[in-house]
Amino acid sequence: MTKLIPGSETAARIRAALPDAELEEAADWVVVDAPHLVAVATFLRDDPALDCRYPTAITAVDRLDHFELVYYLSSLQRNHMLILKTRALDHEAPEAPSVVPVWYGAHPQEREIYDLMGIRFSGHPFLKRIFLWEGFAGHPLRKDFLALPGGQKPGLAHFPKE
């Protein structure tokens, strides 16, 4: 069974190695501030105990006032997984550092996030839209894409017969 490393343990290890990174720990994950993302990612990859050399999944969530980037990182050798998060605070022009130098596997995933969420990854070697064509207006996975009048978020507020 893959062990999910709790946020407190990850945070303790990161603090020991990179004392100036601003961390916010939750039960399952650690939120790191964007400027330290690459340093923390490099540490997670190279630390022999954490050994997160396999980036399982990278995605983003639109939290209405900011974007949350979610990194599922795992070690195949030790069979554990940890969740790292970071935030792109500017909702209008979100930007985050790219982790492609750390994990090559982030290449298409960050392009996908850029295409669908509009987060610019600084330092990405080939940041072009991956699915939609250049010039497509907007980024469809944002909650305000083709926003409904009255600020209503897409999706159902309640079930039809409720």
């Binding site: 022999p48 105990a49 050994d51 070690s75 195949l76 050798q77 030790r78 069979n79």
Partner: protein, 419 residues
């Protein structure tokens, strides 16, 4: 070259030339000289054209049905009984389609190519002895003629590929030329071995030699047949050597841009060329219309066509079973494997013919001995080459490694290695 004698009755259909001979002798009695020439040319040309057209049409059905059998399906079975009318339906469809012309292409060359491609495919058939007297033109350089005519096809295919102004077509055209340059050499050398033994380049002469010696040249020159078969398969672009129109790589190669009946012509040329390969192999290696005395009972042309279809079946079989080689592997195969073997074959063949002629040995004695020697030599060379020169596949694993549990490094232990 048939000795003059009393003409056979015209209804003797064991040899279709009987009827023609009758007609011509009657014409020469009543008409001027040139009329005989013209009539014989028209009859022969029409007969060959009809034969080629009929086989092209029939082979659509044959190929599709046979390949379907190989591929555990049924093949065309809706149009007519057993799908026999399928070729008609295919042709009708192709003729109805618009023949597109690429805008940036070279229209004259583009339109000429499919028409010119049919020329060599048709011309080759002029020299085959379909039966004892059934040769349209009995050239005494027949073997060379065949090689020359088929090599012209390459230029036509290049024209098609280049004039399409399509990158896939261009790649296909370049591949066609590279293939020809490599495979023409061992092909000619292989056929040289046959000519060495038969002592003539005339096709009916070679058949007559096999008839007189009561042996197939395939038995005397097995290596030559193998080399010829592989080279000819490569030259007419069929799997496993169809890199010039490799569907999965360059879409359709030189005929990517062709549509409608122009594509249909290329398709027909491919089928006719496959048949021509069979006809050449049947004539040179398998005794043409002669079948160990059976030709007295069965018409020679039936035997010939039967042999052609057997070899054609072999081609379909290969097509249905083998994957395609890569271009550099094909080139390496031609130069490093086929060419040395062809040279060895010629050396051995020349030595044998020399022995035979110098010591004036009886053919009944030496030919079986040569057959055994050459057959064992062929097997030895091919197997030896495979064992010592080819990539040692048999020494590499061909099954996956099985792991029962994932090796997990304990939390304290140091991690290492790529994993």
């Amino acid at each position: 070259m048939t000795p003059p004698g009393p003409l056979a009755p015209w209804y003797d259909f064991r040899d279709l030339s009987n009827a023609v001979e009758r007609l011509l002798s009657w014409l020469s009695d009543i008409g001027p000289d040139w009329l005989v020439y013209v009539v014989s040319a028209v009859i022969g040309g029409t007969a060959i054209f009809l034969f080629v057209a009929a086989t092209a049409v029939a082979n659509i059905w044959v190929e599709r049905r046979v390949v379907a059998r190989i591929q555990v399906r049924r093949g065309p079975n809706r149009a007519g009984p057993w799908g026999l009318l399928q070729p008609i339906a295919d042709m009708t469809k192709l003729m109805q389609k618009e023949a597109l012309l690429p805008r940036a292409g070279d229209p004259v060359v583009f339109l000429l190519a499919p028409i010119l491609a049919f020329g060599p495919a048709l011309l080759v058939w002029g020299v085959f002895p379909f039966g004892k007297g059934m040769t349209f033109v009995d050239l005494n350089v027949g073997v060379l003629y065949i090689i020359a005519v088929t090599s012209v096809t390459t230029i036509v295919l290049f024209m098609a590929g280049w004039s399409s102004n399509n990158k896939y077509s261009l790649l296909g055209a370049i591949r066609v030329i590279a293939m020809l340059l490599s495979y023409e050499v061992p092909l000619v050398l292989a056929l040289l071995g046959v000519v060495l033994f038969a002592g003539t380049m005339s096709l009916s002469g070679i058949v007559a030699w096999q008839h007189d010696m009561r042996i197939w040249l395939f038995l005397v020159q097995p290596l030559a047949f193998v080399i010829y078969f592989i080279c000819a398969t490569a030259e007419i672009n069929r799997t496993p050597t169809d890199i010039a129109e490799a569907e999965s790589e360059i879409v359709a190669g030189y005929h990517t841009e062709y549509s409608g009946i122009q594509f249909g012509l290329f398709y027909a040329v491919e089928l006719v060329n496959a048949m021509a390969l069979g006809a050449i192999a049947a004539t040179l290696f398998f005794g043409g219309w002669w079948l160990f005395g059976l030709d007295r009972w069965i018409p020679g042309w039936m035997i010939f066509i039967g042999k052609v279809y057997l070899i054609y079946f072999l081609l379909i079989w290969l097509r249905g079973t083998l994957p395609r080689l890569r271009i550099d592997q094909l080139m390496a195969f031609a130069w490093k494997f086929l060419l040395p073997l062809a040279l060895v074959n010629i050396m051995v063949g020349a030595l044998e013919v020399l022995l035979w002629v110098e010591y004036d040995l009886s053919a009944g004695l030496v030919l079986p001995v040569f057959s055994v020697v050459n057959l064992s030599l062929a097997v030895l060379l091919v197997v030896g080459w495979m064992r010592f020169m080819a990539f040692p596949f048999h020494r590499l694993p061909s099954r996956a490694r099985l792991v029962h549990d994932i090796p997990v490094v304990a939390p304290g232990a140091p991690a290492g290695g790529a994993a």
